[in-house]
């Protein structure tokens, strides 16, 4: 049940954000440059509600993080013991965000209902192609993960602070055998043998 609910909600929220992002960018590029307020009436007034579009875009970007949190905690699929792929979360978040920007930009410049405002054509193309390129990074990560096998996002690497040494049991056994041979050959007395054997065993 957890997998079903969190997949539906998390990925549904992702898709909701993709649509909002693309739609908002399309609207803003179609409006183009505009002015509001002041003592004179601008010829290019910002349409009423322009600020809602900008707020929706900001809100969608924040919701991406909420969606990522929900989706990444969905757990294994029913009937599977494998942990869920974190690469998918990155794909939906990163690639989804940037490709939705690209889709909205390209529709505003080249789409069937394209009517870019002043200065919007060049700006839209820049945003579109940048979004396309950045989004490919997410796809590349998924491809790399699928080739390398399932993995989760690695946690912090604590080994930089040093790792406890595992005892070299084979080395210690050989050293003890050597000490015993030296004692048998008379090269070590009992006291020296005991001292060295205690060192091998460690604290």
């Amino acid at each position: 049940m957890r997998y079903v609910s969190r997949t539906l909600i998390g990925l549904g929220l992702f898709a909701f954000c993709w649509a909002v992002t693309a739609y908002a960018i399309f609207q803003l590029l179609s409006i183009g440059t505009c002015a509001s307020g002041g003592p004179y009436v601008p010829a290019r007034q910002c349409p009423a509600g322009t600020e809602r579009v900008m707020l929706a875009l900001v809100g969608a970007i924040l919701l991406y993080f909420v969606a990522a949190l929900i989706y990444s905690t969905r757990g294994p699929a029913p009937g599977s013991k494998r942990p869920p792929s974190s690469a998918l979360t990155i794909l939906w978040f990163w690639t989804g965000l940037f490709w939705s920007l690209a889709v909205g930009s390209f529709l505003a410049v080249w789409g069937p209902e394209a009517n870019p405002g002043p200065g919007a054509t060049l700006g839209g193309l820049i945003v579109g192609f940048m979004g396309l390129i950045f989004g490919i990074a997410g796809v590349a990560w998924v491809g790399y993960t699928w080739r390398s096998g399932p993995r989760t996002i690695a946690g912090p690497d604590w080994s930089v602070f040093g790792t406890p040494r595992r005892p070299d049991r084979a080395g210690a056994f050989n050293a003890l055998a050597t000490l015993e041979r030296m004692r048998d050959e008379g090269n070590l007395d009992d006291a020296e043998f005991e001292t060295l054997r205690a060192r091998l065993r460690g604290p």
Partner: protein
């Protein structure tokens, strides 16, 4: 979906349903939220609110005056895209209109808000019949035949000819005609 690959189609179905529903709801929400887009682009400009074009040329709030013209030009600048060039700035007492150009033109920053006042002083110094801004009909900054910006003054129709003057961009000298 490497870690969720199995003979169970549930993950794929869930993902597809979630994407479809999310996209649908997103589009619906934005359609309800978004403003109506302007049907076509209009050139940047401003007009004095509630004036019906009836502002006297010499009035303190006339756009021939340096103060109001400076504010108006700032408002026009907000409507221009970065680096956008102009081929015409048309100034009347009640409005400022522009023509943008994709080719060679001039920047809005080339428009000196005190130029109309300076031109009025120069013309009235040459012609006593011209009292100043109150005898102006409109002032343009436009491109001449060499694609250089040039001031163009049209005096009121009740003034004896010549009723048009031109001046270079710095508006420090006027030439009748043009």
């Amino acid at each position: 979906m490497a870690t969720e690959r199995s003979t169970n189609p549930l993950p794929i179905v869930l993902h597809l349903v979630a994407i479809a529903v999310g996209l649908f709801l997103g589009i619906k929400a934005m359609a309800a939220l978004s403003p109506d887009l302007p049907p076509e682009s209009s050139n940047p400009g401003v007009d004095v609110a509630a004036s019906n074009g009836q502002v006297p040329p010499g009035a303190p709030n006339s756009l021939f005056q340096p103060g109001p013209l400076s504010i108006a030009l700032d408002a026009v600048d907000d409507q221009l895209a970065a680096g956008q060039q102009l081929s015409l700035v048309h100034i009347t007492p009640a409005d400022v209109t522009t023509n943008v150009t994709d080719g060679a033109g001039f920047d809005l920053s080339d428009v000196d808000s005190s130029a109309p006042t300076r031109l009025a002083t120069l013309i009235s110094a040459e012609r006593s019949r011209v009292r100043g801004l109150q005898d102006f009909q409109f002032v343009d900054l436009r491109l001449d035949q060499d694609s250089e910006p040039q001031w163009y003054v049209q005096l009121a129709l009740d003034i004896d000819p010549p009723r048009t003057y031109t001046a270079p961009l710095d508006a420090l000298a006027v030439t009748p005609g043009g």
